[in-house]
């Protein structure tokens, strides 16, 4: 195993007319090559902003305030924009949720893949087109030689998402960022797409950063999990540990609100209330207004992410940290 990405103390904020949105508020994590990291959270938890920060695609009024994003040992935040343009699409690529709006409706699928190849490789025109057909075949699109000259609207949602993945892997990236890649798709198509990404990950030793709200998808695909809430990481562990021994009250709440397929459940345990406004965060722990376990400290003091057992980190005052295991930062 080799470290591919390390994010240290990332803070990204948006300066809106209504106030400062603390979208990502001090994130620390790492991702190994050929590992799939699942980033789970609800709307507004900061998972997409984390990904866009890694890609350096934060636009006004947003700003990356501080932190380091080490990709293969080099800080992406120090790179000039020209260098970033070489990295995006080649070293790190991203697949967005909505395939229809991330494809150009006026260009054929083949032309769009060829564009990426033209920018990043020295392939000839003919070779680029041939590679586009090969890529469509690799992602399981039937009749790739015909589909390559189709426009996005001629493809089904599942096929468009595959075409986007084909484009994203066209230059064999080291890191693939997937932002809810299957949310709009049916479960059988979702299973097909994750099967495909899993094969590509193993074949090319590609790190995968998977953003999702679906804990079941993470359990079936990822090795490592981060749970985010209101801009902060609240828990991190490998999948076996996280699902076997979830500690943060928010993680527990999320797991309990999934209707079980196998056993009976009379009533779902839901998390009361709603995700807080990122401009007016509560004092103390961000989750305290919705938490059943709060005490005085939770309302005043922000909990730090602390290691409770090797590799398992939790940010909660109510979870006992064993003596001798210190906070990993701060």
């Amino acid at each position: 195993m080799r470290e591919l990405l390390r994010v240290e103390g990332l803070v990204t904020r948006f300066y809106t007319d209504e106030g400062v949105v603390k979208a990502v508020d001090g994130s620390w994590f790492a991702l190994e090559a050929d590992e799939a990291l699942g980033v789970v959270g609800e709307s507004g938890s900061g998972k997409t902003v984390t990904a866009l920060s890694i890609m350096r695609l934060i636009e006004n009024p947003g700003r990356i305030e501080s932190g380091r994003i080490l990709f293969r040992g080099e800080d992406l935040l120090e790179k000039p924009e020209r260098e970033m343009r070489r990295i995006r699409g080649k070293e790190i690529s991203m697949v967005f949720q909505d395939s229809l709006s991330s494809l150009n409706p006026t260009l054929t699928i083949g032309a769009q893949i060829a564009r990426v190849l033209k920018y990043h490789t020295r392939l000839t025109r003919r070779a680029r087109w041939q590679r586009a057909v090969k890529l469509l075949e690799a992602v399981g699109i039937p009749e790739p030689a015909k589909r390559v000259s189709h426009y996005p609207h001629q493809l089904s949602g599942g096929m468009r998402q595959r075409a986007l993945i084909a484009m994203a892997i066209s230059c064999n990236p080291k890191l693939l960022i997937l932002d809810e890649p299957t949310t709009a798709l049916d479960v059988t198509i979702e299973a097909q797409i994750f099967g495909l990404i899993g094969e590509l990950k193993d074949e090319f030793r590609m790190g995968v950063f998977l953003i999702t709200h679906d804990l079941s998808v993470v359990a079936s695909f990822c090795q490592q999990v981060i749970i985010m809430y209101a801009g902060k990481i609240v828990e991190e562990a490998d999948v076996q540990e996280l699902y076997g021994n979830p500690l943060h009250p928010y993680t527990l709440g999320l797991l309990r609100s999934i209707p079980p397929l196998e056993e009976e459940a009379e009533r779902l345990e839901s998390i009361p209330g709603e995700v807080p406004d990122l401009i007016n965060l509560p004092p103390g722990c961000n989750f305290s207004p919705r938490c059943a376990l709060t005490d005085e400290r939770c309302w005043h003091e922000e909990p730090e992410l602390a290691e409770v057992s090797p590799g398992h980190r939790v940010a909660c005052h109510r979870v006992a940290v064993p003596v001798g295991v210190g906070e990993i930062h701060g």
């Binding site: 804990l215 359990a219 209707p259 397929l261």
Partner: protein, 330 residues
């Protein structure tokens, strides 16, 4: 003894494949959205309707809510032939059958307050006026878990979960007996999903409501339903008691669908991939519509003869040649 509230018989809905009337002159093809389905729902129970995009589940719901008319078939509600109703009689039945939509953001008028939105069905039906109106509105909002302070708010000021509660309140306002719920939690965050599912189930108990619950998420459908119907390309392939369907699914499509669902457990067996995509409902495969993707394909019979629904021990009805018995088997 259970009392039948809704009876659907041989329901068919074809849409013209071409867009406007002019194109339709040259293109007589039709989309067979719903192609001969029958089912009943008993009073006070929930029938879950599952299937992938294009299976016809939403069209079925819309016909029952009388939002669109069918091409053929019969819908009997409480002994009344729903499709024969016109004018005042139709208006009267609309009080008894209501609908909750998937996307609360687009199904609420952005220029009206919550109070106006929930009052609209009361006004249309001339049910409550003057002082009583406000009382009724507050009561309805409370049923849906919203307090009176929401009356003067606009939809954009609300969160997704609150908007869906407004959609539920609007459906409840006229005191219906039957509600078509079309993917009511699909657009919501996980923790909010559980809140809304609990609310819908509590309301069913309190007001003895009957639901047709349309969703593609199998775990959600399992949680809320008494009986489940599985649709594929306009046909019901399997219908039965929820426990029967989920513990011993009979139809190869139901089996494939369940095997493709991820579990929130990293130790669960890997998801099984169903190959291919749902074919076009313009030109569905002959014989059994599932045969090109079926793992238990029997040969010519599946290609040539359309399977009938047969009733098995345990009450499940399934349309598959594996169970049709007789001369074709073996």
């Amino acid at each position: 003894m259970a009392e039948e509230l809704l009876h659907v018989q041989d329901l068919v809905k074809y849409f013209p494949a071409a867009g406007d009337w002019f194109a339709q002159i040259f293109d007589r093809r039709v989309v067979r959205a719903v192609d001969g389905i029958s089912f009943e729902i008993d009073r006070g129970t929930t029938l879950g309707l599952v299937g992938e995009s294009g299976s016809g589940k939403t069209t079925t719901g819309r016909i029952i809510a009388r939002l669109i008319g069918p091409s053929r078939g019969e819908v009997v509600f409480d002994g009344i032939d729903l499709l024969a109703l016109r004018g005042q009689a139709l208006k009267a039945i609309r009080k008894r059958i209501q609908m909750i939509f998937q996307d609360p953001a687009s199904s609420l008028n952005p220029r009206k307050t919550v109070g106006q939105i929930v009052a609209e069905p009361l006004r249309v039906h001339g049910m409550v006026k003057g002082k009583d109106l406000e009382k009724r509105l507050v009561h309805t909002l409370e049923l849906a878990g919203l307090s009176a302070r929401f009356l003067n708010r606009y939809p954009h000021e609300l969160s997704g979960g609150q908007r869906q509660r407004v959609g539920i309140a609007r459906a409840l306002a006229v005191g219906p007996e039957f509600i078509v719920c079309d993917e009511p939690v699909t657009a919501l965050d996980v923790s909010i999903q559980a809140q809304i599912l609990n609310l819908l189930m509590d309301l069913q108990d309190e007001l003895s409501l009957t639901y047709l619950f349309i969703a593609h998420d199998l775990s959600v459908v399992k949680h809320v339903s008494d009986r489940v119907a599985v649709m594929y390309l306009g046909k019901i392939v399997e219908i039965g008691e929820v426990d029967e369907i989920f513990t011993t699914p009979k139809h190869p499509y139901t089996q494939a669908l369940l095997a493709a669902v991820p579990r929130p457990d990293p130790m669960a067996p890997p998801r099984k991939v169903l190959h291919g995509e749902v074919p076009s409902p313009i030109n569905p495969p002959p014989g059994c519509r599932f045969h090109p993707r079926c793992e238990r394909f029997l040969g010519d019979i599946c290609r040539e003869r359309e399977p009938e629904l047969v009733t098995l021990d345990g009450g499940t009805q399934v349309s598959c040649h594996l169970y049709s018995g007789g001369d074709w088997k073996g």
